[in-house]
C-alpha cells in the first residue's frame, strides 16, 4: 500500500490545540460534546419530571432507567437505591462515548496539526473511550469507590481484616495477593474497554480503506453491539465488585465463593 492511502491509525489521541498550555486532544473534544449532550438530557429529564405534561422523551428515558434499575436490582437487592446513580451514570456515559465514536465524521474529518515541528493530519474527533487516559480514569474511579464503600459499610477494622487476619498467618501471603489483584482490576478494566473500542475503530478504518462502499455496514452494527456490551460489562462488573466488597459474610474466612 502506498504512503498516501495508508489508513491513519494512532494508538494515542492527537493534540489539536492548546489552551494556556493545557493540550486539548481530539478525544477530549468529542468527549466534551457528548458530556454537554448528556448533561442537557439529564436536565431536560429533571425538569420534565416536575412538570404536568410530560413528553415522550421523558418516558423513553424513564424506560431505560427503569430497565437499568431492574438489572442492578438483581445483584444489589435493597442497596440498589444508594448505588444506582453511580452505576447508571457509568453505563450511560460509557454507552454514549462508545456510540459517539461510530457517528459519521468521527475519525474521518481530518485537520492539519503541528507535532514535533512537522505538519501532520489528525482526525478532528475521536471516540473518548478509544483513549487509554479515559478508560484508566474510569477504572480507577470504579475500583477506588468499591474500596471506599467497603470501608464505609464494614468499618476500617473489618476492611483491613478482609486482607490481613492475625489469627491466620497464611492470610499475610494471601492478603498481599488480594491487594495486588485489586490493582490488577484497574488494568483489566481499563484495557478491556480501551481494547474493545479501539479495536473496533481500527477494524472499521481498515474495512473502509479496503472496500469503501457498504462493506463496513455489518461491522458498524457489530460495533454498536460491542459498545453496548462493553458499557453493560463495565457497569455490571462494578456492581459485582461493589456488592462483593460490602458483603459481610466474607469476613468469616468463608472464601469458598470467591473467584
Amino acid at each position: 500500500m502506498e504512503e498516501g492511502q495508508k489508513p491513519h491509525i494512532s494508538i494515542k489521541a492527537e493534540k489539536i490545540f492548546e489552551i494556556f498550555g493545557l493540550s486539548i486532544t481530539n478525544s477530549f473534544l468529542l468527549s466534551f460534546i457528548v458530556f454537554l449532550i448528556f448533561t442537557l438530557g439529564a436536565l431536560i429529564y429533571y425538569y420534565q419530571s416536575k412538570s404536568k405534561n410530560k413528553s415522550s422523551f421523558y418516558y423513553f428515558i424513564n424506560f431505560i432507567v427503569k430497565s437499568l434499575y431492574d438489572l442492578f436490582y438483581s445483584v444489589l437487592k435493597e442497596k440498589t437505591d444508594y448505588f444506582f446513580p453511580l452505576l447508571a451514570s457509568f453505563f450511560i456515559f460509557i454507552l454514549l462515548q462508545n456510540w459517539s465514536g461510530l457517528l459519521p465524521g468521527v475519525g474521518s474529518l481530518l485537520i492539519k496539526v503541528k507535532e514535533h515541528g512537522e505538519l501532520i493530519s489528525a482526525p478532528l474527533f475521536r471516540a473518548n473511550t478509544a483513549d487509554l487516559n479515559t478508560t484508566l480514569a474510569l477504572a480507577i474511579i470504579s475500583v477506588f469507590l468499591s474500596q471506599f464503600f467497603a470501608i464505609k459499610y464494614l468499618g476500617f477494622k473489618a476492611y483491613v481484616a478482609k486482607f490481613y487476619r492475625l489469627k491466620e498467618p497464611v492470610s499475610f501471603f494471601i492478603g498481599t495477593l488480594e491487594i495486588i489483584s485489586e490493582f490488577s482490576k484497574v488494568i483489566s478494566f481499563a484495557f478491556r474497554l480501551f481494547g474493545n473500542v479501539f479495536a473496533g475503530k481500527v477494524l472499521l478504518t481498515i474495512i473502509a480503506s479496503l472496500i469503501p462502499v457498504l462493506a463496513s455496514f455489518p461491522f458498524l452494527v457489530l460495533e454498536l453491539f460491542v459498545g453496548f456490551i462493553q458499557a453493560l460489562v463495565f457497569s455490571m462488573l462494578t456492581t459485582v465488585f461493589i456488592s462483593v466488597s460490602i458483603a459481610k459474610h466474607h469476613l468469616e474466612g468463608g472464601d469458598k465463593n470467591d473467584s
Binding site: 491509525i9 494508538i11 478491556r192 480501551f194 479501539f198 479495536a199 460489562v233 455490571m236 462488573l237
Partner: protein, 75 residues
Amino acid sequence: MTAEVAKFFATALTMAVGAIAPAISIGIIGSKAVEALGRNPEAESAIRTTMILAIAFAEAVAIYALVVALIIKFV
C-alpha cells in the same frame, strides 16, 4: 530476518497464539450456557446475563493480545 519482518511475525503470532485460549473458553461458556438453558428454560435472562459477563472476562484476554499486537504494529 530483518527487524521489519520480525515485527510482522511478532504481530501475527501475538494475535494467533493469544486467541487460542479465549476461543476455547468462549466455546465452553457457550456450550455450558446452552446446557443450563436446556435444563431450566425459565432462567433464561439470568443465564444470559451471567454468560455475557463470563464471555467478556474470557474475551478480555484476547483483547489484551490485540492491544499488544496493535502496539507492536503501530508504535
